[in-house]
Symmetry: C2
Subunit: 304 residues, 2 copies
Amino acid sequence: MSTLILGSIGIDDIETPLEKVERVLGGSAGYAAVAASFYGPSRMVSIVGEDFTEDQRRLFTDRNIDLAGLDTVSGETFRWGGRYALNFDDRETLFTDLNALAKLDPVLPAEYRDTRFVFLGNTDPVHQLKVLGQLTGPEVVVIDTMNYWLESQRDAVGQVLARADVVVVNEEEARMISGHHSVPRSALEMLDMGLKAVIVKRGAYGALLRTADEWFFTSAYPLLEVRDPTGAGDSFAGALTGYLASEGEVTDQSLRRAVIHGSVVASFAVEGFGLKSLLGLTPADVKRRYAELLRYSRVDLDSD
Amino acid sequence: MSTLILGSIGIDDIETPLEKVERVLGGSAGYAAVAASFYGPSRMVSIVGEDFTEDQRRLFTDRNIDLAGLDTVSGETFRWGGRYALNFDDRETLFTDLNALAKLDPVLPAEYRDTRFVFLGNTDPVHQLKVLGQLTGPEVVVIDTMNYWLESQRDAVGQVLARADVVVVNEEEARMISGHHSVPRSALEMLDMGLKAVIVKRGAYGALLRTADEWFFTSAYPLLEVRDPTGAGDSFAGALTGYLASEGEVTDQSLRRAVIHGSVVASFAVEGFGLKSLLGLTPADVKRRYAELLRYSRVDLDSD
């Protein structure tokens, strides 16, 4: 089953404490679509400038990512530059040139409108709402947002949340949405907004999932070295939504497996700059690391 | 099987963003011994001043904690004061009055010397070594340390590590010991020092365990509210060692269960000030939360 993915396509300059790269392909829709491609086809909704090349286009179409919803407009593609602190967690935005992204007006191709599994990546909530308004019968809507939209367009984010099934946020965003410091309490409060599931990403610590009845926690895959954290969250959410689409249903257990798949694909994403390591990956690589991560939390039954 | 516990007994003043308490009973040996008491008897090695009351003594002896190794000297018991930041993670030491603790010279009662399961809590590494030197055949030595000793007595800490089986540290200590930023890499490096297992405590995020062959991760028990984080790490290590002693053997699986027991008892410890919530607990409470925490990481087998 196809996954619809809304988000940005960007060309990024990235500095880490150890390396510096320029003009690598990224963006929330870029990471999410490639991550979802390990589980099935997807349909992208985004926008690029004239500088976006045929080769870049083919990186996506070769992976069964439909670009009918990718607009091309005059001028340059969205550009972003960021620098990571020594801990590889904190980052500073060096520049944001919206370029083409400023013209995003997501009109879905007719053949996209029946998509049932949808990931609305971090973009203007007004765009997220516009996509939702064009879908004939979305079954599972997964959304991401960020502090910027929570500060500037809180009402629109609220409307998106009201129509979403699953929200994927980080700890800071969970606290902003709920107004509580405790992350578990924030998750419960978000659930009360009518969501089926709340997922809080915790970087190197993993992720938590809260559904109506139960908690679930997974660690991140233990990496000896992180090269570039950019896109980890988008990869997580893309893989999660893609996996759910491949399962065709959302249950407590399919959500648990989806969270682990999200963690696994995100762990690969941060091992290289931009989309590089994801593009070099096979489904067998994903499967192997998935089995490993499951093993890392398994406890044999005992009498206690 | 008895667990031997070395550490401090302290009378603490604690400030959190919400509350302030004075003169609550604590100390690394205090927390660890009470935590271990859910799994069997223990033997304490510590020191107090003349102000330590019969009632305080009975809190321990009523729980099958042998105080033959608890010295009493003139003057006051060790006093510590700390203030937690808004996030309940960062804390500032307001004062440290060593008092009786300055006179600690751990000479083991004859009947302690054959103890096989040992937790050497955070104290001067010279004291940790002295205890090790008096044991006739310790099978499992679990040790804790802290940044202060790593800075001031690195060599002595190294000697303790060389004789330990299991080390329980936080992320900052793991990085100081290994010299690496990556926590998984630090764990592997510590393992190479000859340890059987390395456990890194990650506060609200849980703990990781590394043995020769495998990783294991558990989340912390999700709490909607933390009242006082003091003693969480000591409770974790005390419960862990006590559980291992009750099992009588250290295997990859008994260590996994021990890490979960440690997390469970620590989660209770932080729900009240000082030893209060641990002292009100029954083994059934521990058992129930243990089963819950296991459930929070369980994934049904599937074909993926």
